[in-house]
């Protein structure tokens, strides 16, 4: 009777304990920021990429106003950062570096529009908070990329001299840009 009872308890407790341990150990998160980055957008070389570029051009006008421009630039910066990350992961360093450059450019624009909105007496507290969260998420991603890209690469174009690209320096620069917003 006692053995039967033990069997019953075992059937109940063992799965429960396993589940609890699984929950505890898989719950460990390394993310530092709650800011959510988008999915990777269509990449260079695909037909959709051309459509994406066209839609970005149109959206630039659709997102008028300083709040609108802030959102547009930050959204673009997010997208190009994810693009850069994906391309670096696939060792497409040149394209990745280009995407990173675009992400930096858009990121630099975002606080400018917040400043303009402030001049118009708009309350920018919430958006400033979003910018900070975005900056810290970007830094998190950039640091992660830094760990698996080479220090430098040499790019040899067909009809000109080879060029050295200091990838880690570029990533450090990108981190500096984001840090200025923290």
């Amino acid at each position: 009777m006692a053995q039967k009872k033990f069997k019953m308890i075992r059937y109940f407790w063992i799965p429960l304990l396993t589940l609890s341990l699984f929950k505890i150990f898989t719950n460990v998160s390394f993310a530092q920021s709650n800011y959510v980055l988008p999915y990777p957008p269509p990449m260079p070389g695909s037909f959709l990429y051309k459509i994406r570029l066209l839609s970005e051009q149109i959206q630039q006008y659709w997102y008028f106003g300083n709040f609108g421009q802030f959102s547009y630039n930050l959204k673009q910066s997010d997208k190009y950062l994810v693009q850069a990350k994906t391309l670096f992961e696939y060792e497409q360093y040149l394209l990745g570096e280009e995407a990173l450059k675009k992400s930096d450019m858009y990121f630099k624009n975002s606080p400018k529009y917040l400043g303009k909105a402030k001049e118009e007496n708009k309350n920018i507290d919430r958006l400033q908070k979003i910018l900070k969260e975005a900056a810290s998420k970007h830094i998190e991603v950039l640091n992660e990329i830094k760990t698996h890209v080479p220090e430098e690469i040499t790019w040899s174009p067909e009809k000109s001299q080879p060029v050295k690209i200091f990838l880690r320096n570029k990533l450090t620069e990108a981190i500096y840009i984001r840090q200025s917003c923290l």
């Binding site: 659709w62 997102y63 106003g65 709040f67 609108g68 959102s71 118009e120 309350n123 507290d125 919430r126």
Partner: protein, 380 residues
Amino acid sequence: MMKKLFFILYPFALLSLTIFSYFFIDSNLTYLKDFYSGFAYKHRYSATFFYLLILLIFFTLYILLLKLISKKKIDFKDLRYLIFITIALLLFSYPAMLSFDIFNYISTSKVLFFYYENPYIIMPIEFAGDPLLSFTHASNKIALYGPSWILISAIPYFTGFGNFIVTLFSFKLFVSMFYLGTVFLIWKISKNLVYVSFFAFNPLVIIETLLSGHNDIVMMFFSLFSFYLLMKKKIIIPAFIFFIFSIFIKYSVIFLFPIFIYIILKTIRKQPIDWKNIFYFSFLLMAGAFILSPIREEIYPWYAIWFLPFISIVFQKRTLVYISVALSFGLLLRYVPFMLFGTHFGVTPFLKISVTLTPVFFVLIYVFLRDKLWLKIFSR
């Protein structure tokens, strides 16, 4: 005698509704704090009772008016006067008695014309500290209306000169002008005072348009105007522009697109058009849009304005006319459960459906019995 009684009671009913609407002022609406009593929120039973009483008075007067006009006891001049006092007295009513949409109109136009931001991207709530946020209910949503509406809302917005109260009433006046325009078009199309009155004095049309200031009438004006241009003037391009403009006010008139294309084709081919059928099918399609509206959200009483102008023109379809009146009454009863219980949950959704359908159900029974009795008498 009845005419005299009507002319005494009708302005009195309008005035009562205008005064009653101020019992619903939101406590957060600081601009009207001197008029705030909290009556509708503190005395829910009394407020509901008065609302029901006002509805009954309005529907009784409405039926009486239609009878007086059909007996030719009220002429064109009288009707003009009645329309004028309806607009004039309800213009000063508090518009957010039953719906807060007018505040959404104002806050959306403020996003564009004051903050110079795109209302389809930036929500009013983004402008922390804006006084409109304390009483605008959909401030956490991007623009809900089409670009045509947002563009023309510049007129009432700028005529408000930055003063909230003036802006509020200029939006009401703006919508009232489209009510007047729609009534005028129904007259131009039908040349029948009963048909005009059926629309113009329908309590639902009056309450949702002249009291609450819903923009559905603006959409219907432009679509009806495009039909009118094709009907009387045979001009296709302006008619097409106005029709597209009306679609981009609130999108639901897109249901009329097949009919509109049919009229254009017939006009190009110079073939005769059966306009009665056109308006009848327009009614059916817009009634369809109305019935399908719960897919998007829920049936709101002011959606009836989508089909009421068309049924006014095909007034001969008596059963549909009776159903439309019953539905107008039922739709206005939808406000009662919330007014009474102060919640949108619990028994409220069920009651809303029940009160909407009950008058229609009774009308259907009446029509069924009438037809059966008529057949019995006829077969004898």
